[in-house]
Symmetry: C2
Subunit: 449 residues, 2 copies
């Protein structure tokens, strides 16, 4: 009898797990269950549809229905899993037509993802208050934007800022309110975040940091928010204060959660229960620098974990080593990326770090079109290994973040980075890449101490 693999969730993690399982075992039966109407789309693209860069939400669908058909994946949408029995190796499901069923599995993959975490702000139930997690959310926001002249986004993380910029690009006057003293607090140190904040403010985005939204006001429909006594008008409010892993199903089934309150897995992405795997936003990751549990709710992590979970669930062998938190985005014309530990995360992990921030150009200074780029390098003071980097620039940020991801993964030292060979042609780069120059400057700074 063929192996039956049941996958709960059908986005980045679920779909890539299914793909890996199919590659590993051509004969297995694969059943995918999702509460959503749409499966296999890129959530990361949602803000860019709102901003008008991508034509329609349908363009975000990476795994079309034909994909599931071709790969013999039995996708069941608008289907709720109500329970997992790890002893009987079954999941109980509730279909949209009201039917209930108990499905036997040989391997189970939990890819339940995460949901928007909404803090208990007074008035959050009013019309015109949204979160952005699904295509349906996005459709509602675009509809609401048609009559909106002003907006408030609560939370200045990646998604919050991407939404705020999208609103600005649609001509809606927008304010971002962030409780912490800086924007992008999970991704960047304050020095770099402040540079970005100034750029965004210069584009007309209002940003309030270090203050909370006391209340969302309006009758039935939102009219504004109160921040530190000031009423900021808003026809639309989006709450983007992070996500919370959907771990309740796993927890109820007796599967162990880690110290981050996400599902604990081993390197094969296996949970505390045999034959039950988990991947994506609902699992805890190990940070490759600190070697300790961390929360990495990124699409890139999800797909990598999913391949490992899918391969193992189908009887193959693969391991997932851990995460570095490589992330990037584009806000207006500014590219922003980070990888590894920030200085403040390093400090919290007990690592004394030294750092250097340096600005340069993306091409030879005499070549027209050279754009500014600012690099921050973070190095472990004792080992002098690279442990983190943050980059803002007009171009070339993502591949430099990837290069530094390789460097951190391979435990490259600052001196090695300063000597590493880089290529050069006037239309494409500077003689010394700005990353190299930053490394050289950091070496001088360390020598002077």
């Amino acid at each position: 009898m063929p192996r039956r693999i049941v996958i709960i969730g059908a986005h980045a993690a679920g779909c890539d797990a299914a793909a890996a399982a199919r590659l590993t075992d051509r004969t297995s039966e694969i059943i995918m269950l999702t509460q959503e109407r749409y499966a296999g789309y890129s959530r990361c693209g949602l803000p860019f549809v709102i901003g008008g860069h991508i034509k329609s939400f349908e363009d975000l669908i990476v795994f079309p229905p034909s994909y599931f058909k071709m790969n013999r994946i039995d996708l069941r949408t608008e289907t709720t899993v109500t329970g997992i029995d790890t002893k009987a190796k079954t999941v109980s499901v509730h279909y949209k037509d009201g039917r209930e069923e108990t499905i036997q599995y040989d391997s189970l993959i939990i890819a339940t993802g995460a949901r928007a975490a909404v803090p208990p702000i007074k008035g959050r139930e009013k019309h015109g208050v949204y979160t952005l997690r699904t295509i349906e959310d996005g459709q509602k926001i675009i509809e609401a934007l048609k009559e909106a002249r002003s907006a408030v986004v609560v939370g200045a993380g990646l998604i919050g800022l991407e939404i705020a910029v999208a609103f600005m690009e649609r001509g809606v006057k927008t304010t971002v309110v962030e409780l912490l003293p800086q924007i992008l607090p999970a991704m960047l140190d304050k020095d770099i975040a402040d540079m970005i904040q100034r750029e965004l403010e210069a584009k007309g985005l209002r940003i309030i940091t270090g203050k909370s939204v006391d209340e969302i006001v309006g009758e039935d429909k939102v009219k504004g928010v109160i921040v530190a006594g000031e009423q900021i008008p808003a026809d639309i409010v989006v709450i983007a204060t992070g996500v919370r892993g959907n771990v309740e199903l796993a927890e109820k089934a007796g599967i162990t959660l880690g110290e981050t309150r996400l599902i604990k897995v081993n390197m094969r992405m296996e949970t505390s229960v045999k034959d039950v795997y988990a991947c994506g936003d609902c699992v805890e990751s190990i940070h490759l620098v600190t070697k300790r549990p961390t929360v990495s709710q990124l699409g890139t992590t999800a797909v990598r974990q999913a391949r490992v979970a899918g391969t193992n669930a189908a009887g193959g062998y693969a391991v997932f080593p851990g995460v570095l938190g490589a992330a990037v985005t584009k806000l207006f014309d500014m590219e922003i990326g980070a990888v590894g530990l920030t200085e403040s995360f390093a400090e919290r992990a007990g690592i004394e770090a030294v750092s250097m921030v340096l600005s340069g150009k993306t091409r030879a200074s005499y070549y027209p079109g050279a754009l500014p780029i600012t690099i921050k390098l973070i190095v472990d003071k004792e080992t002098e290994k690279i442990i983190g980097a943050q980059i803002i620039g007009g171009e070339g940020v993502a591949p430099r973040i990837n290069a530094l991801s390789y460097a951190i993964m391979k435990e490259m030292t600052l001196r090695e980075l300063a000597k590493a060979e880089t290529c050069y042609a006037p239309p494409l780069s500077e003689t010394w890449d700005p990353v190299t120059l930053t490394a050289q400057a950091l070496i001088r700074k360390i020598k002077l101490r």
Copy 2:
């Protein structure tokens, strides 16, 4: 008495050596000698001035006269060094005003660079036949272009193709003739080179490979070249068949040359004679993959070696580990880069390699403006370490080459590369970077063997 450092040559290698020497020893006396009228400019920029991308040759001057003044570097232009006496520790010089002088040195840095190597083609002395190595060469070519309607470039290396494209951009019908069976033979394998050749031909550039120029014809002034019996009209001919290191002065002084007929140096860039250092196009390098002597006449190598030579010549300590040959250029809208060994160089070095070529997109496929990119990865069959890469693409080639340079330097294996974390945002990248996808495809190919 302050240390006196004499540097022969005043371009990338000479200037960076002087800068490093000044940083290392603030009190030293630094004398730089160059035959040229202009010092401290970027040779790599010359074709891009001809193409009209950079306004004037003066823009290429990276080290202006004020730099030498400020750093107390005694620059003597249009000055010929006629001999080195390593026993007496002197150099004999001939100034432009006819004066001769013998200069004592404590440390000597030979940064004599290279000159265009012109094969003995019949008719090469005619008017209208040029090489491109100096600003003066560039000025002559631009002058000649004013009345030129057709051109032939002999040699399809980096410089040859950059010149040919510059000519096309100026509306001059151009043919490139390459003796070897492919373009860019020192940089790329034939499969990748052929892809580029097709793109260049589609833009109207005529390329003839595997044939030599039998004769340059014309009376006093060039009229065309004869290739395999065909006369190709040309009002201007540029010979770009590579460069030859200026090692005669060193050789005459009894300094040892290596097997590549370039100056042999140790890791401190010291020659076979104490207190005599050498760097740049005139020295032999060690390849970081093969650990054997190689020729790396790149600006990026020159400046890196120069810093080490300058530091050591001034009493400091620094080592230069070797080269990977990271190179990049832009031809029309196409970026082309390579690092490490090509498959054919690997074979010649006795390394059995496996490789994979894969094409992808630079951004999410649903995001407008995604450009094509093709990656070739080369891996040592036994160790499965990455030993080389070649990339063509519409954007993002240079920083990917740098990333792979880090990977090769840190002896990253194919499996590590396939798992390495990369960042993702729809406007900036694909979920899986094309480099990652190529690595994954190569793993599958190896498994199937």
